[in-house]
Amino acid sequence: MSWLMAHLPSYLVQDAVQLAILVLLSLNCALVGPFLLLRHQTMLANSISHTVLLGIAAAFLLESIAANWGIDKFICVIACSALVAWLTTFATQKAQDFLQLQEDASVGMVFSGLFALGIMAVSACFPHSHVGLEIIMGNADSLAVDDVYPLIWSFLINSLLVIGLFKEYKLTTFDRSLANSMGFEVQKIDYLLMTQVTLTMMVGFRAVGSFLVLSFLIGPALCARFVTHKLKSLIWVACGFGASSALIACLLARMLLQSCRLPLSTAGLSSSVLFALFLILWVYKMGEQRRKQRNWM
């Protein structure tokens, strides 16, 4: 690997790393995204992506303690984010059940409350660092080879969980009451899915920032919904769409940089490519519907 890196021009290596990371990230998200979409939990994932700021601040605060115990810093961040994600999910559910709020109202309130706490923690303890900005946007153009490994790990974990628990996820997505009556622990499966989402977000936030991971989670799944309706093919097609838009984004970024001298953020580019893909598929579907109507008439 290092021989390869030493002998290729530096920007190609950089691009390869970037491509690998973005493709892995989109594969990760495409494994989890269709489930989120079908369970109507995308706004919950969005609020988790914001409230993990609180978790990250807490992780930074506890870093010295964790180092004494020998826990790796990255694991600490992921653990704290997972805890905050559980808190968010729990609070949202309680707001819906106990406070009898509507679904989107409960999500919105829990999100603003916890995100406010997160901003308070960040501005109180790290007033001069730009922690917030990096988390929002990430920096897809300063990635190193070391950043690939967490993504590979999380891809392995995600695919193991999705393949192993496919029946459970499928049942609890489409028919919660049946799953409940059959004895599946629907709540625990919910929390497990949210933990997967948090893991995916955390490994991706160095690359694209936790806010933009949402576009990787929803976009490929939404585009795949235009193409197919079966769950397994949804996941495969989402993987395909996500990986191809990551590839196109990397190519575009390099091309624009070399020929038009236009430095653009690759993360933003990948999100825009997904949006363009969505628009193309949507317009095609609209045309198809119109053609069907004409044939029928």
Binding site: L37, H40, Q41, T42, M43, A45, N46, A95, F98, L99, Q100, L101, E103, D104, A105, G108, M109, V110, F111, S112, G113, F115, A116, L117, I119, M120, S123, A124, P127, G132, L133, M137, G209, F211, L212, L214, S215, L217, I218, G219, L222, R225, L262, P263, L264, S265, A267, G268, L269, S270, S271, S272, L274, F275, F278, W282, K285
Partner: protein, 289 residues
Amino acid sequence: MGETLSHASYPGLMLSALFLAYGPRNAILGPHRLIIDAVILFGALLTSSLGLYLYSRMRQWRIYSDAALGWILASFLGIGVLIASRLQFAAPTLYQRVQTFLYGQASTLAWVHVQLFFILFLVIIISFWLGYRLLLSTHFDREFAKANDLYRPLFQAWIHILTSSLVVTGIRAGGVLVMAALLVAPAVAGRTMANSMAQMGFWALIVGALCGLLGNILSMELETWAHSIGFEGVTLLPTGPAIALVACTLAVAIRLFWPNRGIAYKLISQRAQKKMLLKMLQRQQVHEQ
């Protein structure tokens, strides 16, 4: 929805900053900071309305509402980040100005902004007053409204534009967080406190104003407390998050404890009523004996 609209306005901010950076430079960049603000906010308004329009089209295509909201939020944010990355190198000062919009700079508000907010407030009140029946019927049952000739697409578009402009001016004041909180919390509180839509609007107004006031006070008090302890130059809680915290806590408290409606209130009063009933029964038994 509030969060989606505020994230959707992000590319608009960037686009208008681009326009300012590359457009008729001497005419605009020279004078008033207000004109720059106005142009930036207008761009934000455009994309916010575009986002709202796309959302309604997506709903017509039976895409789930939360998926549509999340997708518009994420993709518009991504496009905004794309433009921002270009802007960052092309016009750094404008970029900084626009970044303040994301986090809200409540400390740089002036009387002009207050006047602007007041005008917007009046416009909204007048629109709601004149179009009350239209608004209510179309919101709750569109087919009924259409059947009774109460559906005016132009009015709907006007309300959409008002919503977007509300969100955009709110972003200027407190950042994205404040908009998300203030669009949800007063509504939740109002629903608990009211018996009709008009009452809900009234109470939501009061609660919203109260949240803004208390949030500001909280932020300032915390800052003075932090200074007295010894944290120098640290804003413990910027105004935006303070308002959001106050709004959520207030909404939850009202939801729990409002007389006759609050959930905890009902539980406690049920328990009290049970005790009273038991006591009365006991007294009757003793009396009969």
